[in-house]
Amino acid sequence: MSTLSHTQPAPPTALHTAAPVPVLAARGMVKRYGRVTAMDHADFDLYPGEILAVIGDNGAGKSSLIRALSGALVPDDGEILMDGQPVRFGSPLDAQKAGIETVHQSLALSPSLSIADNMFLGREIRRSGVMGSVFRMLDRPAMQKVARDKLTELGLMTVQSINQPVETLSGGQRQGVAVARAAAFGSRVVIMDEPTAALGVKESRRVLELILEVRRRGLPIVLISHNMPHVFEIADRIHIHRLGRRLCVIDPKAHTMSDAVAYMTGAKLPEEQLAA
């Protein structure tokens, strides 16, 4: 029963061969907004090849943690480590360059741009030769092809036109585009913030399958979700955030959803803390 691990997180169940060095980690991160402390010495560990769920009550500081890991927020204090090496993310671009892709809850898509334009937003492919270097001409056929391939590869969609504006897509389809973008460009870590929150039952199922598909390719995934059944279904480990810091990390196979909810809301303390 006691797979609780506050100081020494259990290695992921998915890849036993993985080295115990976290791909992405954070130590003692602090972020204050005036009198509000969003992160109070928060720690975080993500191991290779695992799906790590991050859960916590509203206002627990999950979003700040995730925003810091994806470069959208610069913490006041603390450090972020990749493969044990300290890194600093001053902007989302820095995190992207380090191989961290995030599917934000807002999806971060430009509604009036096409599916292909959105997938390559901020990392467009230019033509080779003079047309590309001097005239900065985009290689649209190449981008459209890659976009279509990626969507197909993830079993995501039969697209009539990859040049269709994103605003003409349904919520589930937009989610699919955002996930495909992250899966296509994330070389180290994929972070998904409430990927099923806005979706129906059928579409949620599809996104969960996508997450497993991404893990199968060897990418570790951070999944932020309020949906306990989903979390317990696909997570290898569950990071429980409370009052701006990591309360504990639990093994979903050894704990029940009620345990998790009890820890998360403070109704019950993890055994380790009771002992301490």
Partner: protein, 366 residues
């Protein structure tokens, strides 16, 4: 067509399905079908217009030309008159390019006209009064235009002030500088022609089949082609649309939104300086009082051309058509003997109809 009960998922990778989800096994497995047949003809029209933002202005322009050729007859349709309309819209067409760039980023630039006049005065004073070689004076004018744009851009991106307020302020400032630098004096056309013919070169007429164009008209088309290329075929162009569409999303996608905005304001300033060159060509003289209506006329052209003041939507070609619509209506109404005040009245209606249409088109849903 995608099978989501999925051959790609090996048995150990598949999660146990929640009991309430078991019914999903029998569901339709196609995931992202694109419904290409909107229900009613009206919805279909809405989708069509949504997909082709320049369709509405193009139709209005065609209707305007057809309508006035019936009302006014041959005098309107003569190649001379039609080419005159093109000459008349050249300045607004060029300033409209600058305005379109800003409007796509969800901004508005009230200072474009003032930047243009200031640049024309700088070019004229340096070349005519101070005897600087005309091409150098022209370059100085471009620099001033870019500098004015940079001031707007810095205020918008650094101080994060609303573009409306920033450019309302710089409009007055640039106009005051223009009066100060010119000493409120007009340089006569013949003086400009003698000292710096280069500045008037865009006024050179070209006669083709009884139609009279000027270099300025072709220059406008060239500028439109260049800016169209940048907006549609380069990464910067895509970023400009993304920034106007949803700045937060653009930032999270890794776009340096403030840098893109700054570039847009500088580019708009330079385009205004090029507009100043065309302005000198068109009117010959250089006056600090010229181009007074360019600010609002450019916004009119952009809005009638189908751009959305909420950003992310608009096109250079649309703006050209918007400017032509205004030109055709003014010219047609004038030839019909309608008083100037009713021309203004009509343009006002066009603006309101254009914005109402934009609102309706934006409501298109998947």
């Amino acid at each position: 067509m995608t099978d989501t009960t999925s051959s790609s998922a090996p048995a150990e990778g598949r999660p146990p399905i929640q009991s309430f989800e078991q019914v999903l096994e029998k569901r339709e497995s196609r995931v992202a079908e694109f419904d290409s047949t909107p229900k009613s003809p009206l919805r279909r029209l809405q989708h069509l217009l949504h997909a082709n933002p320049t369709a509405v202005p193009a139709i209005v322009l065609a209707l305007g030309v057809i309508g006035f050729s019936f009302i006014v007859g041959g005098r309107f349709l003569s190649s001379f008159n039609l080419s005159l309309i093109i000459q008349q819209v050249t300045i607004i067409g060029i300033i409209g390019i600058a305005q379109t760039l800003i409007v796509i980023t969800a901004g508005i630039d009230l200072s474009v006209g003032a930047i243009m006049v200031l640049c024309s005065v700088v070019m004229g004073k340096l070349a005519v009064t101070l005897g600087v070689p005309a091409p150098l004076a022209f370059l100085a004018g471009l620099t001033v235009g870019g500098g004015c744009g940079a001031i707007n851009g810095l205020l918008v991106t650094r101080l994060r002030l609303p573009p409306f307020i920033v450019t309302l302020g710089t409009w007055s400032i640039f106009f005051a500088l223009n009066l100060w630098y010119s000493g409120s004096e007009t340089l006569r056309s013949q003086d400009v022609a003698k000292a710096a013919p280069f500045l008037q070169v865009l006024g050179t007429p070209v006669d083709i089949l009884g139609a009279r164009f000027t270099y300025g008209s072709f220059f406008m088309l060239l500028l439109i082609a260049v800016v169209w290329y940048v907006l549609n075929r380069t990464a910067l162009g895509r970023h400009i649309y993304a920034v106007g569409d949803d700045p937060a999303a653009a930032e999270l996608s890794g776009i340096r939104t403030q840098r893109v905005l700054f570039k847009v304001y500088v580019a708009a300033g330079i385009v205004c300086a090029l507009g100043a060159w065309a302005l000198i060509g068109r009117i010959g003289s250089i006056s600090p009082q010229a181009g007074q209506t360019a600010n609002l006329d450019s916004i009119t052209a952009v809005v009638i051309g189908g751009a959305s003041l909420f950003g992310g939507r608009g096109s250079i070609v649309g703006t050209l058509i918007g400017a032509l619509i205004v030109g055709v209506f003014r010219n047609g109404l004038a030839l019909s003997g309608v008083d100037v005040l009713w021309q203004e009245f009509t343009v006002g209606i066009l603006i309101i109809v254009a914005v109402a249409l934009d609102q309706w088109i934006r409501k298109v849903s998947a």
